[in-house]
């Protein structure tokens, strides 16, 4: 009995004396509770719908007004008017908008003639949550449109055709972009966080510091080493992950090349973030303790598992500064929509800017002494 107590006592005493561990072991589940609680199942809002009115008749205008009313009140979507359907569809393919509603020519005539006209919604179906939110809102809207209160002027019923522009996207494919980003992050976390601090603690860096190596050479060396490891992890996920998730034509060379551009930029961004976080740390416990929290705080608000359109404002604030967001968005474009680099230029620009900022800050904080 005494011996059992001895073991328990030692363990508890030690636990009491490492406040970082205590705080983190309590904080981590709480962070998970809050972040996951708000990351899933929120109402998807503020989707962007392009409207192409090829009719311009009064019933068409009335239909548009109803759309704008939804945009103003329920805020499930916002509307953008397009004159040219081709432009609208191009924007849809580039991921700038979520759907294109086309009111065909002769729509008004058919309504007035009592013939049942059709309107078509071409939608980006890569996000099932957005798709079903949009579908629900539109069905409701048309039901209202079709049953005008008093007095019924026309008997025509408008029907909605939903057209999906991409092949069906199973959830595993939807998750792949987040997973690729996560693989890069984990590699950056282990290489740039845990191993980096362990090496520091073991005195390995002391060995470097007594040689004539310059500060920027050290920083570049550490970061490029971490980035290379992260890029390898990203490459494996991009190829093997695509095959496992069943992405059509998974080894398409052109797409792989574009993905690698994003992998490299993402790896640099995440490794420089890691380096900035670790630049003044010397306790090996720290990277281990923050790993879980950091993971939760970066991954879930990024839109990797659920559309960011459903997040509360505070989480959207994380979304905006979170490098994951841009990496995940970029990979979604490339993996699920097979777009070109142009459509992710903003993502790339953000990640490059983030890298430069984090690296400059880390360089300022880095000390070439113990």
């Amino acid at each position: 009995m005494h011996r059992i107590w001895a073991i328990i006592e030692r363990d508890l005493r030690r636990f009491r004396r490492s406040p970082t561990l205590i705080v983190m072991s309590m904080l981590m589940p709480l962070v998970q509770l809050v972040v996951l609680g708000y990351a899933f199942g929120g109402k998807v809002k503020n989707l962007e719908i392009g409207i192409v009115d090829q009719d311009h008749g009064v019933p068409a205008i009335k239909l548009k007004e109803m759309f704008q009313a939804v945009a103003a009140n329920a805020r499930t979507f916002d509307t953008i008017a397009y004159h040219d359907q081709a432009v609208a569809l191009h924007d849809l393919r580039e991921g700038r908008i979520n759907g294109v509603l086309t009111i065909p020519p002769h729509f008004s005539r058919k309504v007035l003639a009592g013939a049942n006209p059709r309107v078509a919604l071409v939608e980006d179906n890569t996000d099932q949550f957005s798709t079903s939110a949009l579908g629900g809102a539109l069905t409701e809207l048309l039901a209202t449109y079709n049953s005008p209160a008093d007095p019924p002027r026309e008997t025509a019923k408008v029907t909605l055709d939903m057209v999906e522009i991409y092949p069906y996207v199973p959830y595993i494919q939807y998750l792949l972009p987040g997973t690729i980003t996560l693989a890069i992050f984990v590699s950056a976390m282990i290489g740039g966080g845990i191993i980096f601090i362990d090496d520091k603690a073991r005195g390995l860096h002391e060995g470097y510091l007594v040689t004539p190596i310059r500060k920027f050479e050290l920083i570049l060396g550490f970061n490029l080493a971490g980035a290379i490891k992260a890029i390898i992890a990203g490459f494996v996920l991009v190829t093997v992950g695509s095959i496992i998730a069943g992405i059509p034509d998974p080894l398409n060379v052109l797409r792989l090349a574009r993905m690698m551009v994003l992998v490299v930029v993402t790896a640099l961004a995440l490794i420089s973030m890691m380096f900035l976080l670790m630049v003044r740390v010397s306790d090996p416990l720290v990277p281990r303790a923050i790993f879980g929290v950091l993971n939760t705080v970066l991954f879930f608000p990024s839109g990797a598992v659920y559309p960011t359109a459903s997040f509360p404002p505070w989480m959207k604030a994380i979304t905006v500064v979170d490098p994951f967001t841009y990496a995940v968005h970029g990979f979604k474009q490339l993996v699920l929509k097979n777009t070109g680099l142009m459509s992710i230029s903003y993502d790339l620009a953000f990640l490059v800017g983030f890298t430069l900022l984090a690296m400059s800050a880390a360089t300022l904080l880095f000390r070439r002494t113990l």
Partner: protein, 329 residues
């Protein structure tokens, strides 16, 4: 120009003064020993001299380069073996050396040659391509010595190179250092806890305690500088009153310390004091239970100058060896 010139060098951590206005010079070609208990400030001093830690005040020049203003000149001309073993365990001996040679910008051909010679010099050639994690402590230290010399520095800093090694490895390391010093025309600055080592191998020894210089000279002169050339340790079955005074007045006794029945006498003439002591014991009817006569060691010098035993100091709670060193709670 001396190899190392230290002037009023001071390092404070908050209120605590780890190195307190030290001044000394290390001459070219000598092995200079820094002797001091745990927490004396030896590592801090070495870290300042090797540009790892900026001094709070004072100045120092290493190979003529100011440690603050010309830090890279210092780094170029020194080899450093930190207190913690810092070779990469996953890499082989040769890979470890290669990385460091590259850090010093040595071109491929000379690099290959230097590594081969060094591995020979530290008797590690047969293990060149084995991972360092398979090495014993002594082998690792020897590898680090090779690592510190890979760019042919003029001045070599070693922080406790033999701590934790068995007696055989200790001797091997010191033999190696003496030989390397002769062959390569090195100046060596080394810290140690081991008095016997410092005695045998150092040309000059500085005794440091609480960050201050307590004494500095060659081991021979240091030993000669303290009262008594011999130390007698003697214990008695029981001692009559005034016995301590009797002992103090024995011929040639310079110093006396007493602890219950055990006495420690410093004497200028060991044999004469011993004979007188035996006679005094017989006439007072006191039984001598043990008696040893030693010549003065650096331990005695240390006790004399610092006022406490190194052994006591060694048992003080171990301080963090490096701000980076993994703390095991």
């Amino acid at each position: 120009m001396s190899a190392v010139e230290v002037e009023h060098l001071t390092k404070r951590f908050g209120d605590f003064c780890a190195v307190d206005a030290l001044s000394f010079a290390v001459e070219r070609g000598e092995i200079f020993g820094l002797l001091g208990p745990n927490g004396a400030g030896k590592s801090t001093l070495i870290r300042m001299l090797t540009t790892l830690v900026p001094p709070t005040s004072g100045s120092a020049r290493v190979n003529g380069f100011d440690i603050v203003r010309a830090a890279n000149g210092v780094r170029q001309s020194i080899g450093v073996i930190p207190q913690a073993m810092t070779s990469d365990l996953e890499l082989s001996a040769e890979e470890n050396l290669n990385i460091f040679a590259k850090l010093y910008g040595i071109p491929r051909e000379p690099r290959r040659r230097a590594i081969k010679t060094l591995l020979q010099a530290v008797d590690l050639e047969p293990w060149a391509d084995k991972p360092v994690k398979m090495f014993s402590g002594g082998m690792r230290r020897r590898l680090e010595i090779a690592r510190g010399l890979v760019h042919e520095p003029n001045i070599f800093f070693l922080d406790e190179p033999t701590t934790g090694l068995d007696p055989v490895s200790r001797v091997a390391v010191w033999d190696m250092l003496s030989r390397l010093k002769r062959e390569r025309d090195l100046t060596i600055l080394v810290t140690t806890h081991y008095m016997d080592e410092a005695d045998k191998l150092c040309d000059r020894v500085a005794i440091v305690d609480h960050g201050k210089l307590a004494a500095l000279d060659s081991p021979l002169k240091l030993k000669a500088s303290i009262p008594g050339r011999n130390i007698l340790e003697v214990s008695f079955s029981k001692v009559p009153a005034g016995w301590e005074n009797t002992l103090r007045t024995l011929p040639d006794v310079a110093e006396l310390k007493a602890e219950d029945h055990v006495f420690r006498l410093a004497s200028h003439n060991g044999p004469r004091t011993t004979v007188a002591l035996m006679e005094a014991a017989r006439s007072a009817n006191v039984t001598v239970t043990s008696l040893s006569v030693q010549s003065t060691t650096l331990d005695d010098v240390f006790v004399h100058y610092t006022g406490h035993q190194l052994r006591d100091a060694l048992q003080a709670p171990a301080t963090a060896e490096s701000p980076y060193l993994m703390k095991r709670h």
